[in-house]
């Protein structure tokens, strides 16, 4: 399923296009609960990876290593920094602080209320860039750009805390966007959003991806995974169960079932109809329709 090199322990996974390399990563909370058991991974520049797994599978623990919030108990995590030291520009997170890594890796937390504290949306978006030590003119420029891109101009001078949840969510993402990290980690950004807000946000993320950012989307929503991500990383009990093209992962959906995750309704329908000639990797309603018509059904 997943290519062999990705699964070999301790091998050299770095390539010139690596954005993140994880080598035999182990981590335990409080020395007791082993959250990660020997993870080997390479995420390339410009990848769009959905990170899937039950709570407790190690998803959040893994991605927190990428911006330095957690440091490996065993193994290494290498992230492409803005300045090169090795030939591929990868730096060990163990040598860097969260603040230093924040330049490269942006982390949008699940609950926007855990970040929002400013009097105005403008100030909120300026917080990150200012912490990076950028000159005030640059900060202001980035804030205006983010306000425009996320369609927040009319709320620029209002306190984010009193705005509706959908807007607070967008502000949380925009605030990290303003820091222009190369890599975006989004922890379940669509929880609690209605369909339209979800699509708006996913489109914004898609746009960031098209402009060259690497996207790591931690999510439970399989419909979004099917519709937007190129690759899927499935975790269970602190280990990688699968890491491959999303289509391939959904094709072998016993992997998902293994960790009690259900593929989208349309994928399930197609799978039930495989004996009648339907393909087993249908990811969207349109695909199903096209495949069904081809069957002459």
């Amino acid at each position: 399923m997943a290519d062999e090199p990705f699964r070999t322990r301790g091998s050299k996974l770095e390539t010139p296009n690596s954005a993140i390399v994880v080598q035999d990563l182990w981590y335990s909370y409080g020395g007791e609960v082993t959250a990660l058991r020997g993870i080997d991974l390479e995420i390339q520049d410009g990848d769009y990876v959905a990170v899937i797994g039950q709570n407790g599978s190690g998803k959040t623990t893994l991605v927190k290593h990428f911006n330095g919030l957690l440091k490996p108990a065993r193994g290494r995590v290498l992230v492409k920094g803005l300045d090169s030291r090795t030939c591929s520009g990868l730096r060990d997170t163990a040598d860097l602080t969260v603040g230093q890594l924040a330049q490269t890796v942006g982390y949008v937390f699940q609950n926007p209320d855990h970040q929002i504290f400013c009097d105005t949306t403008r100030e909120e978006l300026a917080f990150g860039p200012r912490n990076l030590g950028l000159p005030e003119a640059e900060v202001r420029g980035r804030v205006e750009e983010a306000l425009a891109r996320f369609d927040l101009k009319e709320y620029a001078d209002r306190p984010p805390a009193v705005l509706g949840y959908g807007l607070r969510r967008k502000i949380g993402v925009a605030a990290v966007y303003a820091m222009r990290p190369r890599i975006f980690i989004l922890d379940e950004p669509t929880t609690g959003l209605d369909w339209r807000s979800t699509m708006e946000l996913m489109d914004l993320i898609g746009e960031m991806h098209r402009r060259g950012h690497t996207i790591l989307l931690v999510t439970h929503d399989m419909k979004l995974v099917a519709a937007f991500s190129q690759k899927s990383l499935v975790l269970r009990d602190g280990q990688v169960l699968a890491y491959d093209e999303t289509r391939t992962v959904f094709k072998h959906s016993e992997v998902l079932r293994d960790t009690q995750i259900e593929p989208p309704q349309i994928t399930q329908l197609a799978k039930r109809m495989v004996p009648f000639g339907m393909p087993d990797d249908v990811l969207s309603v349109e695909e199903f329709y096209a495949a069904y018509c081809r069957l002459g059904g």
Partner: protein, 269 residues
């Protein structure tokens, strides 16, 4: 990330079964006794008694060690300060410039530290063997209005949650390159503001939701007296313990004030 800000050690022992009100009385009377006496042997005796009680209740040794570890700064600081600032008594052991170290001041300092240890262990005898719900229930039965008891219980319940909230908000703000380590004392304190404000706003939202949840459980139904599933009731043993407590208390108090027992740190009379 699941721990409980709870000193309670879950066991089934005779001491756990004692009504929390009796244990509360023990704390109250015991503290009064410790304040009345000044003799270090009395304090030591109290410590021995409380340790026996605690161990008989099945509390593991590392918990007791933890209390001593926590009290260590006090146990070092108080005798030292006392010796430095309150030299008294005839026997001078050491003198250097303004520092006069006397035997009596050492004894007084040590017995004061031991007094605090004794009071601490009296409290922990109560806290190790009483779960939070029973604790609050005992206060309510002694006259605390139910709503106050509920506020106390909810406060205790949410301490670990808010600690977890602090952790996650701190991580979220640090992920936006917030630097908590730079600058002088004042700069560093100010750098915690983004964390504290976000925490406060989250806490306010949670408290509003909490209020609605409580209302939806019919809290404050007019004309109805609340009942309690796990009520605490005095058993015959509890009456006996109370009587014993009062007897010992009165006896020791009489010894203290009638006969002057234990007013001096070293000599009993």
């Amino acid at each position: 990330m699941s721990f409980s800000f709870d000193l309670y050690v879950q066991r089934r022992s005779w001491l756990h079964a004692v009504d929390p009100r009796v244990k509360l009385a023990f704390v109250f009377l015991g503290t009064l006794l410790m304040l009345a006496f000044k003799n270090l042997f009395v304090m030591l005796l109290s410590l021995v008694v409380t340790h026996l009680l605690i161990f008989s209740a099945g509390v593991p040794g590392h918990k007791v060690k933890w209390v001593w570890k926590t009290m260590l700064p006090i146990n070092i600081l108080i005798p030292t300060l006392w010796v430095i600032f309150y030299p008294e008594g005839p026997t001078v052991l050491f003198q250097f410039w303004f520092l006069k170290v006397t035997a009596l001041s050492i004894l007084r300092g040590v017995s004061l530290a031991l007094r605090l240890d004794a009071i601490a262990f009296i409290c922990f005898t109560w806290l190790f063997t009483t779960d939070q719900a029973s604790l609050v229930r005992s206060l309510v039965k002694l006259g605390l209005p139910f709503e106050w008891g509920l506020v106390l219980a909810i406060g205790l319940r949410y301490i670990p949650t808010f600690y977890g909230l602090y952790t996650i908000v701190s991580e979220a703000q640090q992920a936006r390159a917030l630097d908590l380590t730079r600058g002088n004392f004042f700069t560093r304190v100010r750098s915690y503001l983004p964390i504290l404000i976000a925490m406060l706003i989250s806490a306010l939202r949670t408290s509003e939701q909490l209020a609605r949840a409580m209302e939806s459980r019919a809290l404050g139904l007019p004309g109805i007296q609340r009942t309690c599933l796990r009520d605490i009731r005095f058993r015959p043993a509890d009456y006996a313990y109370t009587a014993l407590l009062i007897a010992i208390f009165s006896f020791l108090l009489t010894l203290r004030f009638q006969f002057g027992l234990g007013t001096h740190p070293l000599y009993l009379f």
